[in-house]
């Protein structure tokens, strides 16, 4: 079955009338040389052609849109092609370093809250890889190397992670693997990948200015980073990084599903802070003023159901909304994107230059609405001027189960979920280029770079 273009679901229906008409025309042209056998052959071709064209739309429809019981969906293919449902098993091999438990298990034991917050992907990825089919115990045949160090598990009493010790922890882990195994020094980390799901990735700080000042940890300059943060032209986003969605608990979201035929009656929905009075009393820093602009412009607009409350029906309300705002906060990404995708609400992304999860596998421009921060005062005009067909198409794309699955980290892992998308992303980067392997004695990384405080042992 050839891959049909995904511009609209109707493109799947090969028009039987037109194709058989074309066949008939050819037959008419050919039958001018009239031997009876030739005419018989022509008619046979005609009938076979007719049968084929009638059969193919049926099978295409089965593959593409579902029965009338559920919502018709559309295949999703991004810039890398139709890769959401690829199976990484057999395409790559990952070796998991055995680090002492002070880097992972003991940290988790100290604070089990790390399993539920939005940075929990690093822990679940480790667990997934330990029992996955792509894992190999023989490092010589591995394409990628994974270092399980939980850098985002030092939590305040409120539950927010402090990144102050993370650079030292990461550095200490890398020192360990480079001294106990030869594979780090072979490539200086170019075939290693790390999960750094914190606010600004491997810059290890929650404040953007400080994060930019620090830059990415020098030792990770050549490694592949799997992170939630993504913003173009930003110091903390390295070329070749894989952007993942933040962790959202799948069971909790499943528990709040409402029947799909509940009519969507809210136009725009948002719950969250507009001003962060604790950290930004002057205003204008938090969210680069975008959230405050949303509030000031639309607080009395009946179409915008926005407030700072924390209702217990938050998930149910999202399922009753057409658009869900996903503005930036202190960092451009937020779990709202994941929630909007799961609940079928079109995400309105207000974050300039943001890089969304799995951007090469998922065509986000076709699924969500992107609004520049400077256009926020005209948000209502922008949203109401979207043609209804476009909105319906976005909803069809969102209804695709592989789309929803790609945003989740379910336990146990399921095919097509975010773990598999990460592995697919890593597989797409194979085979490694020639620059990955270093020549004998070549050294690129500077082990003493970075702030003095980072060099202390952990």
């Amino acid at each position: 079955m050839t891959d049909f273009p995904t511009s609209s679901s109707s493109s799947f229906d090969v028009d039987p009338v037109s194709s058989s008409a074309i066949l008939a025309k050819n037959i008419r042209v050919g039958s001018s040389s009239c031997s009876p056998l030739l005419i018989m052959k022509m008619w046979a071709f005609f009938f076979v052609g007719l049968l084929c064209t009638h059969l193919s739309p049926v099978s295409a429809r089965i593959g593409a849109s579902d029965s009338s019981r559920t919502q018709p969906t559309e295949r999703i293919s991004g810039s890398a092609g139709d890769v959401l449902e690829d199976d990484p098993v057999g395409r790559l091999k990952v070796f998991v370093y055995e680090l002492p438990s002070k880097y992972n298990k003991k940290i988790l034991q100290k604070d089990p809250r790390c399993l539920n917050h939005m940075f929990a992907a690093e822990i679940y990825m480790h667990r997934f890889l330990l029992s996955s089919a792509v894992r190999t115990l023989n490092p010589e045949e591995a394409d990628w190397f994974y270092t399980p160090v939980y850098t985002t598990c030092d939590l305040t009493p409120n539950g927010l992670p402090l990144p102050f010790k993370s650079p030292r922890m990461m550095r200490s882990a890398i020192q360990l693997i480079s001294s106990n195994w030869p594979y780090w020094n072979r490539t200086e980390g170019a075939d290693h990948f790390f999960l750094v799901p914190h606010d600004f990735g491997a810059c290890f700080h929650y404040q953007e200015e400080k994060a930019i000042e620090r830059g990415i940890l020098p030792l990770l300059q050549r490694a592949t980073l799997v992170q939630t943060f993504g913003q173009r032209y930003h110091v903390c986003l390295k070329d070749g990084s894989i952007t993942i969605p933040p962790y959202a608990p799948p069971q909790k979201m499943q528990a709040h599903l409402i029947p799909e035929k509940t009519p969507r009656s809210i136009f725009v929905y948002f719950r969250g802070l507009f001003y962060d009075v604790g950290n930004d009393p002057e205003g204008g820093y938090y969210a680069r003023g975008a959230r405050a602009a949303v509030w000031e412009n639309f607080k009395d607009n009946p179409l915008f159901d926005i407030s700072t409350e924390h209702p217990s029906t938050y998930y149910e309300d999202m399922q009753r909304a057409v658009f869900c705002l996903c503005p930036l906060g202190w960092a451009p990404w937020s779990p709202r994107l994941v929630e909007a995708v799961i609940f079928g609400c079109i995400p309105v992304i207000i974050a300039d230059d943001i890089v969304l999860p799995f951007a090469d596998a998922i065509p986000w421009e076709e699924i969500g609405v992107f609004v520049d921060e400077k256009d926020v005062p005209n948000l209502d005009t922008i949203l109401t001027s979207i043609p209804p067909e476009v909105i319906l198409r976005k909803q069809r794309l969102l209804a695709n189960p592989s789309m929803k699955q790609a945003m989740l980290f379910p336990q146990p892992a399921q095919p097509g979920d975010a773990f598999h998308q990460v592995l697919n992303g890593l597989a797409r980067k194979l085979p490694h280029g020639r620059s990955v392997h270093l020549k004998q004695g070549q050294k690129i990384l500077n082990w003493t770079a970075g702030p003095v405080g980072d060099l202390k042992p952990w």
Binding site: Y206, K210, Y233, D352
Partner: protein, 480 residues
């Protein structure tokens, strides 16, 4: 996402600002360290007092030439000015376009209020989305039949409330609706006005008798009114599914979808909502109510395991029925009759004199003795096993029966519009409530005022009909 302690952020900010002014040299003399610590502390205190990091202000005034904007000045649209700690070093100084870190303006448009044109467009979008949802998630019915809804009504205080609610339910039905409204006591303009607002095709007929007071009699009169409407269906040869919607009942939209599946005659389950004015603080009553576990009584068909119609279930005698009212002005609600009409749906062809495929077990419309033998459309059937249970063998409740009425003779303004507006609100002494209001000190004076402010039309009429039997005063002659 982060909740820093204020001093910590200040510490970071200050050290960042001061780093430009003094080299972060670890080999400093203690005096210099102490000096810088002192300056640091003074700056911190100053910032705490002022409420913002004045080091930025300081640097800004030194290095920048653009006019300063204050945080409170948010009401005008302006280009965002970027305030950086060190403006000479742009933190993301790479290729365009980039987003600068730091303070941005909060952009507010000059008239930050909803535009009506856009609100309309948004509603059209929502309607389109909902239409699509409905098309996808409800079972596709290639030939939806129109619904013929029969409603008996009469003018009384709560008529506007009940009829408007029913009207809105019918307006939301996605199929064609023919609404037959039968009015006891003849056609009135008030009912006509109410019904006209629906935009549906309506047939408004009057019924000669007046609606009586006792619930029992009302029940039988309503049945006769419905049969009258059925005769209209027969005479006009209306085609569709006949449903009985009492104006005080509550209908779910799914009911109208479910009813499309009827072949000849079907029934759904009816929930009975008691309207109880019983004192719930009474211990005995609350005990009974707890025991009943808040299950509402249901009237409807019951099926066996093969989903075949087996019999009826009526919860009329259960302890939940805290009714017991016999007259409209009694407290509590009336018990339902043996079988309510509201749960039934008929194919209108069953009523026609000559219809194709009309089954043999259908009696003619005039053959039952409707005066005595009236209780449900089952009287039209010779063989009750032909009944089709609808709604997943009526396990889903889609319609609820409620009988809530104001006391008879309740005064209400014509069309529920008070014009001219009331002056002094005074308790009315002439409404025939059984329990009188307590005598308040000012009512003695107010009674003299009432005579003067008797421009109110109801006051006049009340004088006239004071001694007459309380009648509904809103009746007007038919204007045809």
């Amino acid at each position: 996402m982060k909740f820093l302690a204020m001093p910590q952020s200040h510490a970071d900010g200050q050290s960042g600002a001061l780093r430009g002014l003094s080299p972060a040299d670890s080999s400093k003399s203690p005096a210099a360290t102490i000096f810088w610590l002192a300056v640091h502390a003074v700056c911190c205190l100053g910032s705490l007092v002022l409420g913002f990091r004045f080091s930025r202000l300081f640097v800004f005034l030194l290095y920048s030439t653009s006019p300063m904007l204050r945080a409170t000045d948010k009401t005008t649209t302006y280009d965002p000015i970027v305030l950086l700690s060190d403006p000479s070093q742009s933190p993301v100084n790479q290729s365009t376009p980039h987003v600068a870190v730091g303070r941005h303006g909060i952009q507010v448009r000059p008239w930050p209020h909803p535009e009506p044109v856009e609100v309309m467009k948004a509603h059209q979008i929502i309607e389109r989305v909902q239409r699509e949802q409905r098309a996808q998630f409800t079972a596709k019915n290639p030939n939806p039949r129109s619904l013929i809804v029969i409603t008996p009504t009469y003018v009384r205080a709560f008529q506007a409330m009940h009829l408007t609610a029913l009207m809105h339910s019918l307006m939301l039905v996605p199929y064609k609706v023919v609404w037959i409204v039968v009015e006891a006591g003849g056609v009135t303009s008030e009912t006509a006005l109410l019904i006209k607002r629906s935009g549906l095709r309506t047939v408004h007929v009057g019924f000669k008798q007046e609606m009586p007071e006792a619930w029992e009699d009302r029940h039988s009169l309503e049945a006769k009114m419905r049969v009258h409407a059925l005769r209209i269906v027969r005479d006009k040869n209306l085609d569709g599914i006949v449903m009985f919607a009492d104006d005080s009942n509550i209908h779910s939209m799914e009911l109208f979808d479910e009813v499309q599946a009827v072949k000849w005659i079907g029934a759904v389950s009816l929930g009975i909502l008691p309207h109880s004015t019983v004192d719930e603080s009474d211990q005995a009553v609350s005990k009974v109510m707890d025991e009943s576990n808040s299950l509402i009584p249901i009237q409807g068909p019951v099926c066996d395991s093969a989903n075949q119609f087996k019999g009826w279930r009526t919860d009329n005698g259960s302890p939940n029925m805290l009714g017991g009212a016999t007259h409209v002005d009694d407290r509590g609600s009336p018990l339902p009759g043996k079988l309510e009409w509201a749960g039934f749906a008929l194919n209108s062809r069953m009523l026609w004199k000559h219809a194709e495929g009309k089954p043999g077990w259908v009696r003619d419309l005039d053959s039952p003795n409707w005066d005595n033998d009236v209780d449900s459309p089952m009287s039209l059937l010779k063989d009750i096993s032909a009944l089709e249970p609808l709604g997943n063998c009526s396990r889903r409740l889609m319609v609820w029966r409620l009988r809530v009425e104001a006391r008879p003779g309740t005064e209400f303004p014509k069309g529920w519009l008070i014009d001219p507006p009331l002056g002094i609100p005074a308790p009315s002494k002439r409404t025939p409530w059984p329990d009188a209001f307590p005598k308040l000190p000012f009512t003695e004076n107010a009674s003299s005022d009432e005579e003067e402010i008797n421009q109110h039309p109801t006051e006049n009429r009340r004088h006239e009909t004071e001694t007459a039997k309380p009648q509904l005063l809103r009746r007007e002659p038919v204007e045809n």
